[in-house]
């Protein structure tokens, strides 16, 4: 069957067709759609009473670490599990991820990292392929939507055969790009439950872990052989093989896009060898062949950091000139474009029109009517009453509070940092030290920081801007909705210092008074500013109307 699918959707369908039993994930651009697709498929299945296929667990996890661990638990029981996250999510699950490489797996386990080079919606450009290298496990990096689909079946099979987790790495421009994908007419059934053969393999006492690690080290040549034989890495000798081009993932498309136009473009004359990489570890045998064919110059075109560019220097003779991001042949930062690749290939740019000077930037902004706006309005007015307030922000729609017209926050680093940075600043003597954090971010990784605050009786105000959703990524469920007050008092914040307000213009004076009281209280306070996200509210009202009209 043929479907028009986003790269993310191809991954999701590939997992479903490979007999997936559970997907565990936290929303994060550009990975969110993988889980949403599976949730949609499950929702349709549950309404179709004729369907007898087993359900797939697909509830959103509280964060990427709990997602990774639960997936490992499902794998432990012999079933196939998928973990999905954006690149920075790898940092959150790193402990579980790294040690899953040591325990190994039972049921197949694929971790999908969707990287965001050019930081369209992220704090950095980190390249998840490093994590696979760090953990010493295989990595798949599909070059297009069809490969992304196919690699799910292959990845699960590889994972089970070699008893290793597998990292599958994609980037924005394929995750969020649609193409026609051919899917199987005979999807695979889910695995039955089964215990691991060797229980000790999953107990990482040093005595057992050392044994496991030795096994992992011994598996490295096996992983390399797999990369050489699977067919996912290909070497095509050129007519002038002194020059070669190595591409990883979607970089291949930009190379071939420009190659296709070669006959029309007389400024490109030579025919280089092409080494297409979509599976790691790197295929040493293919690289050796490339060298043996007389390699003198190698252009490495990869999406992300110069991972392969650095590695390959140790795999080819020092007489080979390696070019890429580190030599300035490609921009060091940011995603690849057909234009930057064209330039790296020595081709002339296509004739273009002049940029229009009249165009100005249109940065994203909080929606009109958003509760965060009213929360910031009140916070700013109160903050102005103190000589030097510091407001530590966090990750979400409310990060936009750093921009005009609010300029309300003074820091934003990563998920949950607001709470603990406020504590650290307060430890240093700063007052007021205020944290602004969303509800989903709070349960993701703010709760443990709040416990630190309570235990130290830190003089901080944690302002939870609760819009009852995970907003920036499109309005997914928020793990603690309806229980935030209990969570905070349960953690140990004094009940009289857990305040709830409704961020609306008419409540401005009340909100300001509450903030003043809690800033002046020399201990840990939580102020919850709660009003549903207007986007999710719109959707709920629409859906309710739909139900009404169908009655």
């Amino acid at each position: 069957m043929k479907h028009l699918l986003l790269g993310d959707e191809a991954i999701a369908q590939g997992a479903i067709d490979a007999g997936l039993s559970g997907v565990y994930a936290y929303p994060g651009t550009p990975s969110t759609e993988i889980t949403e697709y599976i949730q949609g498929a499950e929702s349709r299945k549950s309404k179709d009473r004729s369907s007898d296929s087993k359900p797939i667990q697909c509830r959103w996890a509280t964060n990427e670490k709990t997602a990774m661990e639960a997936a490992l638990g499902m794998s432990y029981m012999g079933k196939r599990a998928l973990v999905c996250m954006k690149h920075v999510g790898m940092n959150v699950c790193a402990d579980a991820f790294m040690n899953a490489a040591i325990t190994g797996v039972n049921g197949g386990l694929i971790v999908v990292a969707a990287d965001d080079p050019s930081m369209h919606s992220s704090q950095n450009e980190q390249d998840s392929r490093f994590y696979a290298k760090f953990a010493m496990i295989p990595c798949l990096e599909p070059s297009n939507q069809q490969e992304a689909y196919d690699m799910m079946g292959y990845g699960f099979e590889l994972s089970e055969r070699l008893k290793t987790p597998v990292l599958l790495r994609v980037t924005t421009r394929m995750a969020h790009s649609r193409a026609v994908v051919e899917t199987t007419d005979t999807p695979r059934e889910q695995n039955a439950m089964s215990m691991p053969e060797d229980v000790n393999h999953f107990i990482l006492l040093p005595a057992y872990a050392k044994k496991n690690y030795a096994e992992l080290v011994d598996l490295q040549p096996v992983f390399t052989a797999e990369s050489e034989q699977s067919g996912y890495n290909t070497y095509v000798k050129g007519t002038k093989p002194e020059k070669a081009i190595l591409t990883t993932g979607i970089a291949y498309n930009y190379l071939m896009e420009n190659e296709r136009g070669e006959s029309k473009d007389k400024s490109r004359k030579s025919k280089e060898s092409i080494l297409k990489i979509t599976q790691y570890p790197l295929p040493e045998a293919l690289i050796e062949q490339m060298v043996a064919d007389g390699l003198k110059e190698l252009l490495v075109i990869e999406e992300g950091q110069p991972v392969v560019e650095e590695m390959i220097c140790g795999m080819v003779p020092s007489s080979v000139l390696v070019k890429g991001r580190l030599t300035g042949d490609l921009p060091r930062m940011g995603e690849l474009t057909p234009d930057s690749v064209r330039a790296a290939l020595g081709m002339e740019a296509l004739p273009t029109q002049e940029k229009e000077a009249i165009v100005v930037g249109r940065p994203p902004a909080l929606c009109q009517g958003c509760g965060h706006r009213d929360m910031y309005a009140a916070l700013n007015e109160v903050a102005r009453e103190y000589p030097s307030p510091r407001i530590f922000g966090d990750i979400g729609c409310y990060t936009l509070g750093a921009l005009s017209p609010f300029h309300a926050i003074h820091a934003c680093v990563e998920m949950g940092a607001s709470v603990t940075m406020a504590k650290g600043a307060s430890d240093a003597g700063q007052h007021p030290a205020i944290a602004v954090i969303g509800d989903s971010t709070f349960t993701h990784s703010g709760m443990t920081g709040l416990l630190d605050c309570v235990n130290a009786n830190a003089n901080v105000v944690v302002l939870i801007s609760d819009n009852l959703t995970t907003g920036m990524t499109g309005g997914q469920d928020s793990a603690g909705t309806g229980r935030l007050e209990q969570i905070c008092t349960g953690i140990g914040v004094a009940p009289e210092h857990v305040r709830v307000v409704v961020p609306l213009p008419k409540n401005m004076e009340e909100i300001k008074q509450v903030l003043r009281e809690e800033i002046d209280y020399p201990g840990t306070s939580v102020v919850i500013a709660r009003r549903e996200c207007i986007q999710t509210l719109k959707r709920h009202l629409k859906a309710a109307k739909g139900v009404e009209s169908r009655k």
Binding site: S177, R178, V180, G361, R362, T473, G474
Partner: protein, 194 residues
């Protein structure tokens, strides 16, 4: 057949629905297709764009090169101009002339319109007024724009209308009919001079 199209607008305006309909019609014609878009932060009232590539041959890059686009289809006039570096020298701009004023420093509208008119091949329409005239809600303005772009897209008009019907079928007959009317309104406005 090869058409590289940049769809542009402001987050929330509905440019992706345009891409969906064109994609639907293109698949019916047996064309290869790739359509790249940006999610996440851009949606919050920021500029959004989609790269839509149609071809009778397999398509490699998901992104369009500078100077490679045959057509910019934009729901907002300044956003149309944002991508002119991607437009072929004789490429078309098909744009709404209704500004989306959510930034304090939006340039003078007359100047923006003037810059679009300075391009040899352009179409400027008040897509919202045309939608209203056709008896469709203002949300169907994106369908008016689609109709106006049909001649430059190289896809048969009837196949495009069939695509509209398929894409919106689940929303019911009223929505389908008003969207088709909106497409026709845009198409009729342009086809006379084509």
């Amino acid at each position: 057949m090869k058409k590289d199209i940049i769809l542009a607008g402001v987050g929330g305006q509905g440019i992706l629905s345009i891409a969906t309909v064109i994609g639907e019609a293109a698949l019916e014609e047996g064309l290869y297709l790739k359509q790249a878009e940006v999610h996440g932060m851009s949606q919050r009232g920021g500029d959004v764009q989609s790269n839509l590539r149609l071809s009778s041959e397999p398509i490699m890059s998901d992104l369009i090169a500078k100077g490679g686009a045959d057509l910019i289809v934009s729901l907002e006039p300044m956003e149309a101009l944002r991508y002119v570096e991607y437009l072929k020298p004789d490429g078309w701009i098909v744009s709404s002339n209704v500004p989306f004023l959510n930034i304090p420093n939006y340039p003078e509208l007359e100047a923006v319109i003037g810059r679009i008119q300075a391009h040899k091949n352009h179409v400027l329409l008040d897509v919202e007024a045309l939608a209203k005239e056709a008896g469709a809600p203002v949300q169907a303005a994106n369908m008016v724009l689609l109709g106006a772009a049909i001649p430059m897209l190289g896809i048969d008009h009837d196949k495009m209308v069939a695509g509209v019907k398929r894409v919106f079928a689940r929303k019911g007959e009223t929505v389908v009919n008003s969207n088709v009317a909106a497409v026709e309104a845009g198409y009729q406005k342009v086809i006379g001079n084509w």
